[in-house]
Symmetry: C2
Subunit: 275 residues, 2 copies
């Protein structure tokens, strides 16, 4: 299974992909999220895997935008605990490291550690694993990279400081994307995006289509529509498969009051990654 992801080899997306696919996983690292969608659409990759939500920073809106723009289906999800480490050349000592290279989000999630270690000057990299690669390939003995354990292993580097993120409980949910819908599964959840007509109590009416059919929600988020204040996209996940009678009826009912609705896919839910 050729799986496209954003970032260098060893990224958190690759780690999520390896956890999801196991031995079948063949990595296709790409530069951008948009590239991942294009690779799956063109057939260059069988599947794509992208982060959609982090417990600390919330939804990754860019991937919701790309899900709307492209015609792929969500066929699975993978929860991954994010544990940032300071990684350097083996034999280097922590006290000799004066630079910490990483992606801006990872640097932001290690702010307390970096504040305590003033000698470590943060350096922006386009990618966490890419930062490890950079430190490795340029033989930067005074530099470290902030990335996952898997990146250290892959590049033959050493963890100089383990689990340096500010918040222990840091999880990212990844979506697995395909050109075709997933096989039917009993315990599926379904992700949709919609916009509502301007009617009194319309969000309540929208949620009633699920409640009236005993379909539980696992996520709801309103996002202001660009250029149109007071109008929203809603991201919603509910427990049930889109082929189930109740879900079909709920979606039919919902269409009566939406100006826009897109079904992103039905797929088996992920177990939570162990802490």
């Amino acid at each position: 299974m050729n799986v496209a992801f954003q970032g260098e080899r060893g990224s958190y997306s690759e780690e999520a992909g390896r956890t999801f696919f196991g031995a079948d996983f063949k990595p296709i690292p790409l530069g951008t999220f948009a590239g991942v969608y294009e690779a799956v659409e063109s057939g260059q990759a069988d599947r794509g895997i992208v982060p959609i939500e982090n417990s600390l920073v919330g939804s990754i809106h860019q991937n919701y935008d790309l899900l709307l723009k492209h015609h792929l289906k969500i066929v699975g999800e993978q929860d991954l605990r994010i544990e940032h480490n300071l990684i350097g050349h083996s034999g280097c000592k922590l006290e000799d490291i004066t630079e910490a290279h990483s992606h801006p989000v990872a640097l932001g999630q290690c702010q307390e550690y970096l504040a305590k270690h003033e000698k470590l000057v943060p350096q922006v990299s386009y990618d966490t694993a890419g930062a490890v690669k950079l430190v490795k390939e340029n033989n930067l003995k005074h530099a470290g990279a902030i990335a996952g354990r898997f990146a250290a292993e892959l590049y033959g580097m050493e963890i100089l400081a383990k689990s340096i993120q500010d918040e222990r409980d840091n999880h990212t949910r990844f979506l697995v994307l395909s050109k075709d819908v997933a096989e039917y599964s009993e315990n599926a959840k379904t992700s949709i995006v919609f916009a509502l007509k301007n009617l009194p109590g319309v969000l309540f009416k929208a949620l009633s289509v699920f409640a009236l059919r005993d379909l539980d929600l696992t996520k709801i988020e309103s996002r202001p529509l660009r250029k149109k204040m007071w109008q929203y996209y809603f991201y919603l996940d509910f427990v049930g498969h889109i082929e189930d009678e109740a879900a079909k009826n709920a979606i039919g009912h919902l269409r009566e009051i939406t100006t826009f609705l897109k079904i992103l896919g039905s797929y088996p839910p992920s177990a939570r990654d162990s802490d």
Copy 2:
């Protein structure tokens, strides 16, 4: 009015504060968001102003966490259009600039511009306006900072490239915080955070307490509770003042099915900043 905000003088938070308070505004720049809450609680500042939601990156969860931890009230909000510029010393030419200093989020929002201008090496700064100050005070003639127009004015620097953010439609909503509740206003909105009991269709029931009283929602967001998968905090804004009969009854009704509920404040809504 002494107003605390996170960042150096000239930050977007200061710009939002100046827009909100006008001539009354006296800046108290602080290093951290937590510091802003502490300054208002201790009386060092009369008000605080913090970003809560950006149209591109979503909610700033750190500020929701701090709203839960501290005992301040939201007394106002301010929408601000975010326009990033490349700022340098006056007389410098764009083609001589080889570094772009800024906050990681601002660097991330100018990715396309930075990709097109490979010569500009991104450099992490703790703050957008702080990056302008750094370039100014260290007399870095080969460096630019990515920040707002107001920071350029304040430090007597020049805009070398205007409006370089990837997305034109980039708005941030700021909250104004105080120890005391706002004066009553007719057209108020109210922000609350709550967690729900584990009951069938409980989110539907929660929203019904507003719908049954014709109280419109302007924001709803579910956020996974730390350590407890499948449990959520809900951030919700509704149109109405907490002292209104309908709102009081809705909150009383909501308490029947919540395990936790905090009223963050009732305040007049902001007009959208012009584009």
